[in-house]
Symmetry: C2
Subunit: 346 residues, 2 copies
């Protein structure tokens, strides 16, 4: 018999509510012979206020024992900006070498988009997760004075770029359209831009059936709202990926349905799956949060662990659920979770 040993991090705000539904759907979809074990971890604002800790070495050791991690949301206005982001979310991405930050964007039938004309949107962003301007390199001199200088250093390595570019090519090759766009700003950020472009072109030779294009990040924001159907797979740097995936989520149904995976394809460390949305403290505890993004993150988790059929069952259930939402009264977080659990079990 097989098993799935999951670390669960509800986190802050609506995190607990959406994770509960994510687990509900996971239990419903898993075959009988897969034994699901879950262990809950306490991270986020509550723990930070109580202990000053965000993620200790012992925590990291414990998390390492799991097959994968499901996260709700981390963040609260009571904690200074950046403390939990850098002390927990980014720290974990770096510790567990989550270099493939996977963010699919698919505009499902019946889902509202701010774009006119209901375009066909179905692409995946492969965002680098362990380099670029996210490394925390840089510094400040003369802090707080009129002569302050603050720097941020974007660090890019051939090793780091090549592995994520290769991952993106493989994903593009596995999709019907087989298209891959590199998004950067190589006309201005010439050092990093040259490395990215060069590695991209080199790896492209190994994937002759994949059609490639290069696009500056500023131009990409235009295409994301005027021609989103042109994208299939996108590979990009950590910061550009952060920016364009929020835009991508916005045009393809909003962050209520945007899932993400922080993936270490080597399997040396567990990968982490989380909705793109934050902790939304304004609606926390009211049963108003849409658990769909978390449920879709569970699908990414299952696919990552090789449970492809179950992942597809979840995605189909979500599509069917969303298609029937129009015109219906709003449902609570758990009502949506219940409906999805019924569908995947059916």
């Amino acid at each position: 018999s097989r098993s799935l040993n999951l670390a669960v991090i509800p986190g802050d705000g609506i995190g607990q509510e959406v994770v509960t539904e994510g687990l509900k759907v996971l239990s419903a979809v898993l075959p009988q012979d897969v034994k699901l074990e879950t262990k809950e971890y306490d991270f986020g604002a509550r723990r930070y206020h109580a202990t000053g800790e965000t993620l200790t070495d012992a925590d990291a050791e414990a998390l390492k024992q799991h097959d994968a991690i499901l996260l709700g949301a981390i963040g609260d206005p009571s904690v200074p900006s950046g403390v939990l982001e850098r002390g927990f979310l980014l720290k974990l991405r770096f510790l567990f070498d989550h270099h493939v930050n996977l963010r699919p964007s698919k505009l499902l039938p019946g889902v509202a988009t701010p774009l006119a004309g209901q375009p066909e949107i179905d692409f995946v962003v492969v965002r680098e997760g362990t380099e670029g301007p996210y490394t925390g390199n840089g510094g400040t001199i003369r802090k707080g004075t009129e002569h302050e200088v603050a720097t941020e250093v974007s660090v890019n390595t051939a090793y780091g770029v090549e592995r994520v570019v290769r991952d993106a090519f493989a994903r593009a090759q596995a999709r019907p359209r087989k298209k891959l766009a590199l998004i950067h700003k190589n006309n201005v950020l010439a050092f990093a831009g040259h490395l990215w472009t060069n590695v991209f072109n080199k790896v492209a030779e190994e994937f002759p059936d994949v059609t490639t294009e290069y696009m500056h990040v500023d131009a990409a924001t235009i295409y994301l709202v005027t021609q989103p159907e042109r994208f299939d797979v996108i590979v990009t740097d950590n910061l550009f990926g952060d920016i364009i995936t929020d835009l991508a989520a916005a045009v393809s149904g909003g962050i209520g349905v945007a899932a993400s995976g922080n993936i270490n394809p080597s399997g040396d460390f567990p990968s982490m799956f989380e909705p793109v949305h934050g902790s939304a403290p304004d609606i926390a505890g009211q049963g108003k949060a849409d658990p769909t993004a978390t449920v879709l993150s569970v699908a990414l988790l299952l696919r990552h662990l090789g449970h492809d059929a179950e992942a597809t069952r979840i995605e189909d259930a979500v599509s069917a659920d969303l298609a029937e939402r129009t015109g219906k009264p709003a449902r609570s977080t758990s009502e949506i979770g219940d409906a999805l659990a019924v569908r995947v079990a059916g």
Copy 2:
């Protein structure tokens, strides 16, 4: 009698065509007693191929003698990416200390937007133009090998941030809604983020009547497509400004109507005005380019030099022209310029 001594840089692709119309409208709108002198300069791909030069010291000296610069577009696929951008466009911004990169976004009646529901869009982005990741700091080791490391250094100074933040507060104060948003990523880019946030909050004390907010750049891309009406004035870093102003242009009518000013408010060096769009070599020489963005850049130029009434006349003419376009056959570049010239003269 007054005079306006203008440097004109047609540049590449559609640059010549749109600049011709910009000058046509400028001549038509200027009062009789303002003597317009223009001198054309040859920059861009043609000159680069012929001489290897992008912008010499002598060029810079010559440009300095003018009251302002009007630019069409620079860039051609025949020149390696980055050469003209860094060798001319960015070089000029740095040489002439164009620290206020001004980019208004206004969705005019009758203009198509990719957004559903024709939202009310009327905001101005004040993008820092001389710092951040644009300074060219950084480097590469082990270039071309599997051990290559490439860095990009974002440089931010209290001096540079404060002057552009102050400029943005003054612009916000002069507008009816008096709102200013700082856009950054201070939860991740903590060194630069702290400097920007700190300076912003300090300067805010001098402008108690301006309502402020802070927004992460990723979240800003969401609001730009879901609630663009919430923005009044935005101040942001060079790279974030590059990205969000293309998105802003896209949602507010496209780059066919997006104007920009590279401004040195001190007047120590001439400011430069240019459409946000590029050289569009695919439609060059066919009379297909829309000169509206260039004409609106002329309006920014006039307002910068104190010709407020004439700037407003141009903007009103463009509004009226755009409002009447729907359903009409497409006009050529010069037909649009002619129509605008007639309107501003009338």
